[in-house]
Amino acid sequence: MLDLYLPIIVVIGIAFAFAIGSVVFSRLVGVKRYSELKMSPYECGVPPIGNANERFSVKFYLVAVAFIVFDVEVAFLYPWAIMFKQLGWYGAITMGIFIFVLVIGFIYDWKKGALEWE
């Protein structure tokens, strides 16, 4: 059974060999000439100001987490919507419970102030 995976392993091997090989090859044969412009993070575009490892406000994360939760909720709604007629009341109730659980989370978020920016 494992021999089925042999081609995959071969591909992975080739990919690794190509990636490493091209870096090594270019380093071996390439001409190295440094300048200030070349050493900057972005050779073109806006000149960088300050450190890139800046701290973001935790509010971004809160919104991101809330977004993911409700985004996934919508993802679940699609298959139900497609089978809406066939699933009937059973589906409606089940989905209702599902949404209700999420609503509790929503109320909690709201009440805790997670949705307010300031």
Partner: protein, 486 residues
């Protein structure tokens, strides 16, 4: 299609998840109660949580000897699940009892704490009653995610943050192993239901030598080893146990650990039976390694929470001896031991809560100097728990270890039992050292700050009764454990 729906409805059988359902609903309801309650008012949430735990416990007990199958065989509420559910409920109840005053003292009385414990317990119940790898995984995740939050609950304390983060990252890492293992098992057998996997192996005996299946099984077990803190997957334990709020540490060391043992036993004894020959060796080595590492490092600890963390690693090692035995006595022994451990360990942590000052900087060996004279009742209770942890009669620690080691001897693992007893002897050193500090050193403090919180005291009394009852008349509970064991 109509038939499919009908079948789905019939297959649900809410009875099979009733206890956990009660806890989930209560958890969500109390979450709303918490968010609408003024800050600092948490006592009513604690009591409502306890009430819901009691209801769930009653429902669980009423279902004894009445196996319920639900969700098309994904959930099976049998005696085994009921016994472990009761351990989790007791652990959660004790944790909540010792929490309210503690949260006030640590100046962080936030109501979400209790619903999170309830949801953790519900997750643990799915885990113990799951007969589908996905159900087990789902339970494990619900349990883990809630625990990640609880472990880092005091968000203004650095050590607590560290505990939460470490637990989260390493937990996620181990979940990767678990999920990968489950995926491999599914890949081999084409099903995620444990009984179907067992049937598949029955039909294809050579599967047990299939590298994919073996790797899958072992990777899945690794995920459980992480949860029960078996060496070398134990390293998160001391840091997390030390940093987490003390009631949560107590709870983690009892409830979720028991749940992980339950899932481990179920999948091992059903799915991986064909791997028994090699697996017992793996368990043997891990059991010895776990108890030895736990006990040896505990010897040098000065911080009591950390010492108890290592001690809990060692106790996981003792319980794993029951896995090696791989027989009815062994698995019943694990059930019994986890119950015993719940009482003795949570009791010990409850004592730590009472003698700790805000911030718990004083929970070291020096911090209990002469405690036995200044607070005699606390001293006696602590001594009882320490005696139990040592495994001395007439406490439950002795009977628990006795059954575990008896199972090992019955299966012919004499050396394992000998190593277990030797380890217990090593552990005497650090447990007794606490008692030496309590009784043989002149008190330097008057322990005036120690207030006997009523609810915490209740949890201590319950634990003392549990430890002594299971130690003196273990017969009836052991009978129940035998009915529940595999």
């Amino acid at each position: 299609m109509e038939n499919l729906v009908q079948e789905a409805i019939q297959n649900v059988n809410l009875h099979a998840v009733m206890p956990s359902l009660i806890l989930s609903v209560a958890g969500m309801a109390l979450l709303l109660v918490a968010v609408f309650s003024p800050r600092g008012k948490t006592a009513h949430i604690a009591w409502l949580s306890i009430a819901s735990l009691i209801v769930a416990g009653i429902v669980t007990i009423m279902g004894w000897n009445d196996t319920q199958y639900g969700f098309a065989g994904s959930v099976q509420l049998d005696n085994f699940a009921a016994f472990f559910s009761m351990i989790c409920i007791i652990a959660a109840g004790l944790a909540i009892l010792m929490s309210d005053e503690y949260l006030k003292r640590e100046n962080f009385p936030v109501g979400e704490y209790y619903p999170l414990i309830l949801i953790t317990t519900a997750g643990a119940m799915w885990m113990v009653s799951g007969t589908d790898l996905i159900t087990i995984f789902l339970g494990l995740e619900v349990l883990s995610v809630s625990l990640y939050i609880l472990a880092g609950f005091f968000r203004d304390q650095v050590r607590c943050n560290e505990a939460g983060l470490k637990y989260f990252f390493l937990g996620a890492f181990s979940t990767g192993f678990l999920l990968y293992g489950m995926a491999l098992l599914y890949g081999v057998s084409g099903t995620t239901k444990v009984y179907d996997i067992a049937a598949y192996i029955q039909a294809n005996p050579d599967t047990t030598t299939n590298v994919m299946f073996v790797a899958g099984g072992l990777l899945m077990l690794t995920g459980f080893f992480f949860k029960i803190a078996a060496a070398p997957f134990h390293m998160w334990t001391p840091d997390v146990y030390q940093g987490a709020p003390t009631p949560i540490t107590a709870f983690m060391s009892a409830g979720p650990k028991a749940a992980a043992f339950a899932a481990l036993i179920r999948v091992t004894f059903i799915c991986l039976e064909g791997m028994q020959d090699h697996l017992t060796t793996v368990f043997w080595v891990l059991a010895v390694l776990t108890m030895t590492v736990g006990n040896l490092i505990a010897l040098n600890q000065k911080d009591l929470k950390r010492m108890l963390a290592y001690s809990s690693i060692a106790h996981a090692g003792y319980a794993m001896v029951g896995l090696v035995a791989w027989n009815e006595i062994g698995s019943a022994g694990i059930l019994f031991y986890m119950l015993v451990y719940t009482f003795m360990n949570m009791g010990a942590f409850a004592i730590l809560i009472l003698i700790g000052r805000s911030g718990e900087e004083n929970l070291t060996l020096d911090g209990v100097t002469g405690l036995g004279y200044k607070k005699p009742m606390l001293g006696i209770a602590f001594s009882i728990f320490l005696f139990a942890l040592m495994g001395l009669p007439p406490t439950a620690g002795f009977t628990g270890k006795f059954y575990i080691f008896a199972g090992a001897i019955n299966s012919g693992y004499i050396w394992l039992a000998v190593l277990g007893v030797l380890n217990s002897a090593v552990s005497l050193y650090y447990y007794l050292r606490i008692m030496i500090f309590m009784y043989f050193k002149e008190p330097q403090e008057d322990y005036a700050w120690v207030k006997i919180y009523p609810a915490t005291a209740v949890s201590i009394v319950i634990s003392v009764i549990g430890v002594l009852y299971l130690g003196i008349v273990p017969g009836s509970i052991m009978q129940l454990a035998r009915m529940a064991g595999f």
